[in-house]
């Protein structure tokens, strides 16, 4: 359904994406993991047309995405890292933003309240402004906005960042539930391994602008790739993986 071919992007001297290839089947949930600054967000931004790639192409339904971007966007929803709700609009107008162009206000509001209920927010939230919501509620409202128009493709940008473990687990469950219910194709970028296990059909590891590894969650747990194993276990590695550092404990520490 969505394919990325040889995608490259450079900012000044830094090559952020270096020939990335990806394929997503309809209804598949792909989770892209990788350290900070490895190009995960830039990958999403290139697909959305928010950045212009230096090389490569993106295909949607076997056609260059650039030729049918408006059509793609009409079937697209996204949950941003900090929800990116519009501060000047009440929550229901945020959720119904796209719907208000397609139907009468009352109908759009009804759907917004229904979508808010789907993510566990009551109708009393509808008339609040984003500044009046907690971080977790903002994420949920952002999720409601992402699914308001029943999109066929949904992107989740670090959906659990800044949330406590219980709220993060709730968001993960919601995302998985929504993807299963709607059959939408999803790309999630995250550092959070609990999100990976809850959301992913397939996992892709991005490292220094390249796709280093990809496979299912079960394959991920038995993979032999050192970097992937360290990433999963949350083990410290030498920054930028240059010359190896001696990470053995300093024998002088702890002595009286």
């Amino acid at each position: 359904m969505l394919s990325v071919r040889g995608l490259s992007k450079t900012f000044g001297p830094k090559r952020v994406l270096d020939g990335v290839d990806l394929d997503l089947a309809t209804g598949e949930s792909l989770v892209v993991i990788g350290g900070s600054g490895t190009g995960k967000s830039v990958l999403l931004r290139c697909i959305l047309g928010l950045e212009t790639p230096d090389a490569g192409e993106i295909l949607w339904r076997d056609r260059p995405l650039a030729e049918g971007r408006a059509e793609f966007m009409d079937e697209f929803g996204m949950l941003f890292q900090n929800a990116a709700l519009f501060d000047s609009l009440p929550v229901w107008r945020n959720v119904a933003f796209r719907l208000l162009r397609q139907m009468p206000k009352a109908r759009a509001r009804d759907i917004a309240v229904e979508k808010l209920a789907r993510v566990g927010l009551g109708p009393e939230v509808a008339d609040l402004y984003p500044a009046e919501l907690s971080g977790g509620m903002r994420k949920r409202a952002g999720l409601a906005r992402a699914i308001a128009a029943d999109p066929r493709v949904i992107f989740f940008d670090e959906p659990t960042t800044g949330l406590d473990p219980i709220r993060a687990a709730t968001i993960n469950e919601l995302i998985r539930g929504i993807v299963d219910e709607t059959g939408a194709t999803a790309i999630t970028i995250t550092h959070d391994m609990s999100s990976v296990r809850a959301i992913a059909d397939r996992v892709a590891l991005l490292d220094r602008g390249r796709l280093r590894w990809q496979g299912t969650v079960a394959q991920m747990d038995t993979a032999q790739d050192d970097y992937l194993r360290d990433f999963i276990a949350g083990r410290a590695r030498p920054m930028a993986r240059g010359p190896a550092l001696d990470l053995a404990p300093d024998p002088t520490l702890g002595r009286e």
């Binding site: 931004r45 959305l48 047309g49 928010l50 408006a70 966007m73 009409d74 697209f76 929803g77 996204m78 941003f80 890292q81 900090n82 990116a84 709700l85 519009f86 501060d87 000047s88 933003f97 796209r98 906005r145 992107f155």
Partner: protein, 252 residues
Amino acid sequence: MKPVRLTGRAAIGLTRMIGRVTIFAGRGLARVGAHPSELARQMLHIGWLSLPVVGLTALFTGAALALQIHSGGERFQAGDVVPAIVAIGMARELGPVLGGLMVAARVASAIAAELGTMRVTEQIDALVTLSTDPIGWLVSPRLWAGVLCVPVLVGVGDIIGIMGGWIIGVQALGFNSTTYLANSWAYLESWDVVSGLIKGAFFGLIVALAGCWFGMRAGGGAAGVGRATTNAVVAASVGILAANFALTGLFF
């Protein structure tokens, strides 16, 4: 050769910048009527809510101008020209320029801060993902609100400024109320007022354009938004003064 090269490079950079700003403004103005509800909201913010600050500025300026003209005019027995000079000065110059500068301080900063915050919190990216053109939704209503509202503010400011001069003239300088008002209108030509209103439309565009341009390009978190706000106010203020000189030369 180095100074020549540097001058050339600066000139090319300036030309390129002017071109980009012009295209940006053109795209914004071309989307007229795309979102009427947003235009109404911006007209409320830029026009109606600027009325107190523009009105007070005009009132004190008109009053101070009356005192100055009376004091200066007395040196050559021309104190009677106060009503006419206040009216012409407010309509042609002080109403549009000071009104524009006050709107610049209040509105350019607010637009740059709002759009800059939207930029750094990904709200502008969110608009794109919701199939909404940020230029049509954010920039166009603000540009048109500036163009439409600032002339109205200037017109109201002209009246309040003349009233400020009248209050001082009658209460402190010994003018007869009826004579003061009659002299104010007697020497005022319609072009004095119309030229000031046209200036107001240009100044409104400059203010909104500076706020939108710097706000939409903000980056680097809170510090970036702060820089965008400062740059917008500076650019709008200098732009108003430069445009005022150019328009005055063109009109008179």
